[in-house]
Assembly symmetry: C2
Homo-oligomer: 224 residues x 2
């Protein structure tokens, strides 16, 4: 049994797509809000890639979100207010996440291992009521997943060996990197994270240590 569970957040815990679209629609009624949200998210990985590759020093995701917002707004032919970038602090958890986390918290240390900053994860947890024991993730390593340094920094901060920690994600690539780093792995799918036409991560692609249908099922399977 793992002593701590660390979680991917965007997609795994929260429905960023419909939440960001809601925030965009409230401020930019003239654009297709769902398309805007998807385009904004599409800038996410390239922005981190430059930092992972060493082409740029560590910049918190809050700042990358703001930079990406203005790039996407320009492509949509609109001007976005700077503070729309805080939309990522107001993402709704999938319905079973909070009760599932509460249940897992009774048996384990639970923490996010997200590419979001400590500030962003703290505000997001407050918004959605996610009862983390502490906030871990990319900022501790000043690098971005799937770099091993991020998973290792979370284990080090908890003073646990990687084998005592389970990474939970709805993304096979995240789990592959965590397993490579020595962590245990747990998968549960989010088949509509990218909308009804999603083609990736519809199911597990490896024999992850735990495979669950959702957070409540995961809590049952991880109950000692």
């Amino acid at each position: 049994m793992p002593k701590a569970l660390i979680f991917d957040v965007f997609g795994t815990c929260v429905d960023w797509r419909s939440s960001v679209a809601r925030e965009v629609a409230a401020v930019l009624p003239q654009v297709d809000a769902m398309a805007f949200a998807m385009a904004w998210r599409a800038e996410y990985d390239p922005a981190m890639a430059r930092i992972r590759d060493g082409g740029r020093g560590y910049v918190p995701l809050d700042d990358l979100h703001r930079e990406n917002l203005h790039r996407v707004a320009e492509a949509f032919g609109v001007t976005a207010p700077d503070d729309l970038s805080t939309a990522w602090e107001r993402l709704d958890p999938w319905p079973e996440v909070v009760p599932g986390l509460r249940s897992m918290k009774a048996d384990h240390i639970i923490a996010p291992c997200s590419n979001g900053s400590i500030a962003l994860m703290t505000r997001l947890a407050k918004y959605g009521g996610m009862p983390w024991d502490c906030i871990l993730g990319a900022e501790l390593a000043r690098d971005y997943k799937p770099k091993p340094a991020v998973y290792l920094a979370c284990c080090t901060a908890l003073r646990l060996d990687p084998g005592e920690v389970t990474m939970v994600a709805a993304h096979n690539g995240d789990l592959a990197a965590a397993r490579e780093t020595g962590l245990q792995t747990a998968f549960m799918p989010r088949v509509t994270e990218y909308g009804p036409e999603q083609t990736q991560d519809l199911g597990p692609t490896e024999d992850w240590d735990v495979i669950a249908s959702d957070f409540k099922d995961l809590a049952r399977k991880l109950h000692p």
Copy 2:
């Protein structure tokens, strides 16, 4: 009104003296447990001072506690088991702390700004039910209070200016350093932290921004 409240923990939130004595008594029945707890705590500041002064690189408090344990055990003529050093993960909150924090959490981000590590503060919060939004403190700065870097690292992690953050402590020295660094300050006394003969920190020594009698009073005074 501050946006975040950060808290000293040992003494301010938890009664380390009687809790450590209880843990010592369970394992070393042959010693004066209260005297042992006080002697152990007396090693705390000198151990950090070497790191603050640059004579030693950053070492998490968990390791300093273990080193200090063996030094104190030797002085008491006993051999202490290594894992007694985890006694510092099982300290009882003062009675009004958890309800006070719950109340403050509704209006503010709340986090520890302790010299304890992320691991130690996480386990201590789980033990005592302290509902932190995130765990901040010395480990973020890899240095020890009252060095300004520790208070600043907490503000930076929250993406707040120092003036938007209030440091809460039962120790005037901690608040003096926080104020020097630009934070707001709140004092409430713990007149028995060091036992019935305590002579220090019986009351505020400066005009701190908020002066309260306990955490419930503090919650009332910080309610927007």
